[in-house]
């Protein structure tokens, strides 16, 4: 007898022996499979929803959804005018002045050039991008239905910016004049 027949005989003998004392646990196995199926379906569903969310809103937005704590809390000063929160730094005679935020309010969120503390995940770039994207959307919606009060606020903000820039320029000119006078005195 070849090995093929021998192996089938052995398998059927073991199977018959098992059938003599086979446990009647079909319902139990079905229950286990049903629970596993629920877990599997939940896992696959979560993965699908995550993928769709990633495709729809982008990675930074998903990261902002998944992240909690002070890192993701939007700063009140930057929420209204993201473009005004970053001022161009003025460099006069090699003196670098720190870029002030709009209205002189301190920003609550660490900026991109700030180093995060130990144990924190630096998601600020992505979060800022996500926040800016969301705020851009808000701005665009404001453009369509902005009220007179909002326009006036924007005008005031622009005037404040221009005023702060002119003040900085005047300050630089004064510094230059003082240095020129000191040079002449020397």
């Amino acid at each position: 007898m070849d090995v093929s027949m021998q192996m089938r005989d052995l398998a059927s003998a073991v199977g018959d022996d098992f059938a003599m004392n086979a446990p009647n646990d079909a319902a139990k196995l079905v229950g286990r499979a049903r629970r596993g199926r629920m877990v599997w379906t939940t896992g696959v569903g979560t993965a699908v929803v995550g993928s769709v969310a990633t495709l729809a809103f982008g990675g930074p937005a998903l990261a902002s959804v998944l992240t909690t704590g002070p890192v993701v809390a939007p700063a009140s000063g930057t929420s209204e005018s993201p473009s005004a929160s970053v001022m161009p730094s003025l460099e006069v005679d090699g003196i670098v002045t720190p870029s002030p935020s709009a209205h002189g309010e301190p920003s609550e969120t660490p900026h991109a050039n700030g180093t995060p503390g130990a144990g924190t995940i630096d998601l600020t770039n992505g979060l800022n991008g996500a926040r800016e994207g969301a705020e851009d959307a808000d701005d665009s919606s404001d453009d369509h239905g902005s009220s007179d009060g909002d326009q006036e606020r924007d005008r005031e903000r622009d005037q404040d910016q221009l005023q702060s820039q002119s003040e900085a320029q005047e300050h630089a000119q004064e510094q230059e004049q003082e240095r020129a006078e000191d040079h002449e005195d020397d």
């Binding site: 398998a11 079909a26 079905v30 199926r37 599997w40």
Partner: protein, 181 residues
Amino acid sequence: MSAWTQVMETLVRQRRPALVGYAYLLTGSRAEAEDLVQEAIVRTFARGRAKTSVREAEAYVKRAIANEAVNRARHGLVVRENQAKLAEPSSHPGHDARVDARADLEAALATLSPRERAVTVLKYVDDLTIASIAAVLKLNDGTVKRYLANAAVKLRDRLGDDAVNNEERPTVPVNLTESRI
């Protein structure tokens, strides 16, 4: 009751003994075979799309058994019960030739590595081709041939030269001129 639960219950009630025998060929341990079949059935129905027929489900379960048996054996999770049988010859009184033949076969299978054993079972019990075995075990065709050749040598040592025919089944030539289409 959903369709897949009916298929699963039918499979468990009707085909479980045969699956345990099949798993025993792969593991060499009755307890391990029962555990393997149970896990494979649950896993087959717990994930993926629902199986709509008992035959389809049994094919899935057999694949799962073969792969899991190889994985467990390779990670040292299977303790072969017939290791002791190799050491002591089966000379119990009252044993007929058939029982002796089974003991010889179990001893011969115990000499094979997990993958050699798996390809042997898939070839001689399931009648799978080299390509099908390679697909089931995720191996190359050449690797399957090598395992089969090594297994044949070991089985011949134990069971005799006539026991193992390692050649592919011959195909029947079809003469198109004599066909009655």
